[in-house]
């Protein structure tokens, strides 16, 4: 096995210290993407609750919970599903900090930007008027924003748990259960496979450039380097593409791909599937209870 961790960390540290140059920033990004992938693979092979389950169970179970969160008509149901997601993360050894950094903060940021106008634009009972601007915050607006943000946070957490606790290769295979066409699954698999080859190529290119670089690059020179690097990478990817096609042909590929989906359900998988479905059904039933809505209603 290639152990790139020392090399990776060295570059990451170096790149973090000096964030000035365009080449260094690009290198740091390339390194961090590789680090993320390596971390995800290590976590996916850890000895946690979700990691032990059949990927098909995880996909069906977590999707059921996502569906229940999306259809819920009261906040308690969404919070209940969010709590289940956090519990699953703890049982699976997923650091809460990782969830916070990768899911919660980014979801809050992006959804917040969408939800923010709703606070002012949704008609309803005025709660507060902003000084100077004179914009009115309505109770219904706040409710809408809370619903949107909590739904997104919950579903993103569940999705991230699936990705962090399952090898990507297994996620792809398990997608076949959902009748995703085999061509689509194979293309995703090959994309994932060659992302690392291209990342390595890009990193080598930027390292080679950095080793010959003295001083700081101007904006136009940085743009020129970026454009040239994209061009070289594109041409390399075209070459790789034709070579891979030949390699596939050489082993019998004639335009249609056949794959082997090789999962076996264990007893714990059946228990987990029933557990997931019961939790989702309960959440679905709970989510249909309008009376709970009134507990948090601003009306």
């Amino acid at each position: 096995m290639i152990d790139n961790s020392n090399r990776t960390n060295k570059f990451a540290l170096k790149a973090r210290k000096k964030r000035g140059s365009f080449v260094e920033r690009t290198l740091a990004t390339l390194v961090s993407k590789t680090e993320h992938a390596l971390f995800a693979e290590e976590l996916a092979q850890a000895d946690g609750f979700l990691q032990k389950l059949d990927p098909r169970v995880k996909i069906v179970g977590l999707l059921a919970l996502i569906l229940a969160a999306t259809l819920a008509r009261n906040i308690f149901t969404i919070l209940f599903i969010f709590a289940v997601a956090v519990l699953l993360a703890v049982l699976s050894g997923v650091p809460i900090r990782t969830l916070a950094m990768r899911a919660w903060l980014s979801a809050l940021f992006f959804t917040g930007m969408i939800a923010l106008p709703a606070i002012f634009l949704t008609p309803g009972d005025a709660l507060f008027r902003l000084p100077l601007l004179g914009w009115t915050i309505t109770a219904q607006g706040i409710t809408t924003a809370i619903y949107l943000i909590s739904r997104v946070e919950t579903t993103v957490t569940l999705s991230l748990l699936l990705v962090l606790c399952t090898l990507w290769t297994h996620v792809l295979k398990a997608l076949r259960v959902l009748r995703v066409p085999v061509v689509f699954v194979v293309i995703l698999g090959m994309t994932y496979r060659y992302i690392f080859v291209m990342l390595e190529t890009a990193r080598n290119m930027f390292e080679a450039r950095q080793s010959r670089l003295v001083g700081k690059l101007g904006a136009s020179e940085s743009r020129r380097i970026a454009a040239a690097s994209v061009g070289v990478l594109l041409s390399k990817s075209f070459y790789l593409n034709s070579e891979v096609y030949l390699a596939m042909q050489s082993r019998g590929f004639r335009g249609e791909v056949y794959t082997l989906d090789d999962f076996q359900m264990q007893r714990r998988d059946w228990f987990a599937l029933v557990g997931f479905l019961l939790a989702a059904l309960f959440a679905f039933w709970l989510g249909r209870q309008d009376s709970l809505e009134s507990l948090l209603s601003f009306n």
Partner: protein
């Protein structure tokens, strides 16, 4: 596809061009059944192109190539049955393993070829397990190719074609860019294969030729410059020098003498004269 003679491949006056650049220019040769052949030549001499022609990935611009008594043409490969039979019998290991390892895991990689040839799934599982065992890579089964070392990638690439138990194995620079231990493993494997298969190896690594081949073709400018046994070829210093397979370079002796001349590195203790005036 019945073999009508002892020759597996008959290559007659083959020319192949990449746009306007000539890769092979009127090349002719024959390869016998269960023969171990080395294709020697410097970079750009047409070795890789030749292997791709033998594997019917490319087709000649001029001349003919026949395998097992049948002409390899694009029309012939339009017939699925013919194509499947050929792919089952002839396998190519590419020089760059990243090209060959396009599946998400080692298991999928080894299972790819039999799946495309519509083998029964239980048979595939059994054969994958046996092939992984044969190349001592069972522990890598669930590993993604980007997490393998160079030597491991080469062994997986070999496994991915050996699962079909091909009659002909085409190897493009099998030991290139490998550390000595990994090189040794590949060479040991080829030695163990013995004469049970036809093995055609393109290489410019003269150190392994005697171990992996009974017969050699030396390529130069897309033609066969010379053919013969490894002993005959390796003894012809003039030929090796003219085909850029060896070159004169400086080296030192324990006596302190430093001088320059062409030699094979495998013969560390080689006899030569120190002429006056040559340092």
């Amino acid at each position: 596809m019945e073999t009508v003679s002892n020759n597996i491949f008959e290559v007659r006056d083959v020319t192949y061009l990449y746009n306007d650049v000539t890769a092979l220019a009127g090349l002719s040769l024959s390869i016998k059944q269960n023969q171990r052949v080395a294709i020697l030549g410097a970079n750009g001499s047409g070795k890789s192109t030749f292997l791709r022609l033998l594997d019917a990935l490319y087709f000649p611009d001029k001349g003919t190539i026949s395998a097992f008594g049948e002409n390899l043409t694009e029309e012939a490969f339009g017939d699925e049955e013919f194509a499947f039979r050929f792919r089952r019998r002839v396998a190519l290991v590419f020089q760059n393993p990243d090209v060959q390892l396009f599946n998400p895991t080692v298991f999928d990689e080894v299972a790819f070829a039999p799946l495309q040839l519509h083998w029964a799934k239980d048979e595939i599982r059994r054969r994958v397990a046996e092939t992984l065992e044969l190349l001592e890579i069972t522990h890598l089964k669930e590993r993604s190719p980007h997490r393998l070392s160079g030597g491991e990638k080469k062994r997986v690439a070999l496994a991915s074609v050996l699962i079909l138990e091909p009659e002909v194995l085409l190897l493009d620079e099998p030991t290139a860019a490998l550390d000595p231990k990994s090189q040794g493993r590949i060479v040991d494997f080829l030695i163990d294969l013995g004469n049970t298969k036809t093995v055609v190896t393109a290489t410019h690594d003269l150190d392994i030729v005697e171990d992996i081949a009974d017969y050699c073709f030396v390529f130069q400018n897309g033609r066969v410059a010379r053919e013969g046994t490894p002993a005959q070829i390796l003894a012809d210093t003039e030929l090796l020098e003219s085909t850029n397979l060896i070159h004169a370079h400086r080296h030192s002796h324990p006596s302190g003498v430093v001088h320059s001349h062409s030699h094979l590195h495998r013969f560390h203790e080689h006899e030569h004269e120190h002429k006056n005036g040559v340092d």
